[in-house]
Amino acid sequence: MSTLTVEHVARIEGHGTITVDVEDGIVRDIRMDIIEPVRLFESMVVGRRFDEAPLITSRICGICSPNHAVTSIKSVEAALGIEVSERTKMLRQLMVYGSFLQNHATHLYLFAAPDFVGQPSVFPLAETHPEVVKRALKLKKLGNELTGVIGGRSVHPITAVVGGFTAEPEAHELDRLAQALHEVARDAADTVELFAGFDVPRFETAGEMLALVSPDTYAIYDGEVCALDAGWCRPVGDYHEFITETIVGHSNAKHSTVDGRTFLVGSLARVNLSWDRLMPSARVVASKAGLRPVTKNSFMNNVCQAIELVDAAERCALLCEALLEAGGSSAVEPFDIKAGTGTGATEAPRGTLYHSISLDDDGIVTAGNVITPTAQNLANLEADMRAFAPTVASLPAEEFTLKIEQLVRAYDPCLSCAVH
């Protein structure tokens, strides 16, 4: 038996190693060893004040920090029974969507694209495909600006707090952002076209798919959790009943199942579950690229992220314009501190994120729990690897590992999140 490893897989967030056991040309086992160091966040919030929990848990991940901050804030608000204004919700959506633009652009162009053009990184493309790199940086920069203008900073936002915001952007900044967002519609559509044009293996995941769903919008900030195959929808607060987490020896991250099945979350799940709620522009671009629900090819997560870029660009432009028209305030209203337990969930770029928190009478945290999108995906990723690897096992070693890496990168795993 020989073992092939890809140590510290490149162009993913965090440290993981692909391990393949091969005997007589047959793949006996394939695993994703998650060696990302533990930081033990769920122990760190215990004993801290309720308002410190979002600040601390934001640091689970520097790539999707707006989602951690907002989801943690929502869990505290649920525990304390705080209702926030419509304006606050709109601002939070914009801040999180900024993260989507930045994350998807970074993942698609910096992490995934190089595999499809035979390069080790995006940097050589600055010479060979300058327009593509320019487009990538433009989308990424706009995403950062959006989060930065609303949150004060694109990594670890400052202004979002329990109950609302400590500061709001000026009207001229929202106006400028709206214009910039309208302008990138073309760039987002080109991204769908680019990725739809890349050859991907024909493959179907056997896993279930879960995402937040909302009756009147493409759910990112709020919704119920819905299962694609099983067809149920349940409140976010029930997550610990339908998601089962287990410890596996080769991973510092836990693995998850729902009703005994592995499952995936993220763009592929969202596009399948909320197709009708995408902006028409996004559905048109998606259909032209040949993507329609229900798609079960895990490799198509990339195209789905690109579709979400189109949706996000238009949706955020409209949100900015709506905020300029709307009144209301995002300032924090006084609230009582009391004991309670609450759960919050949002869709992060890579999938559904859950935070729950318990507070004592003084508002001190007694317990906290976080389930990240990638932690939910890892078991299904391994199941996909096990199903896919034999179909490419006859390829030369270098091509074989590239195909496996492409599958891993299609999931856009965030291992700092997964382990936390």
Binding site: L40, R59, G62, P114, T159
Partner: protein, 247 residues
Amino acid sequence: MAPRVVVIGLASDFGCQVQMTNMEDHLLDVLGAIDLSYWQLASSGHMPAEYDVAVVEGAVTTSEHIELLERIRATASTVMVIGACAVTGGIPALATSGELEDRVGCVYGTEGMRIAPGRISPVPVSAIIDVDYHVPGCPIHPAEFVRVLQRALIGLSNRPPREPLCAACKVAENVCFYESGTVCLGVVTRTGCGAKCVSLGRPCTGCRGIAEDANAGAARDLLASRGIDVAALESALELYNSLSEAR
């Protein structure tokens, strides 16, 4: 010959590595000035045997990290640490109070024994090896990163500001949080961020570390004069400065 640079992440959230890419207008210029030999986040490839500059992000949380840092110090002529995790221990150092194994049990239950072999109580990089340059903050500011990197590449010494935030806050015309009886760590935290958080309505959390010229005694007197329990200062400092001797 362009200096060969490697980027290493220890126990971190990658936010500071992301900030390195968040100066989109300058990214290609910076890359043009260096030979980027290894960066797991952005490029396939193996860690080379030789390199000149090591940029290190993250706190030290495993024995493997210690071995890696010792190898890095023996190889690179310049070591630059970026972000609070690497500079002060950062948020990961919140896990240094109490027993590490109790914390592992809290998160993983009785199966915690199988997880993370070689784990140690978190420390900053400077606890293990000598560091030549540091970029503080949680996260770092991309512009500050570029400035310090330039100094490192030219060979100018690291000259971080030594005083706390208060002057910057006054220049920004912020109303001092202590006027309303709110604890703000700006009184002891290294300046250089323009008092950004305070300007946006959040008290300083101390993420840049305690300034050399900070007067911790005077800070405690300030709290006392406002009728604030000095324990509140200690508690606030635990977030980013659990391990600081300057407290």
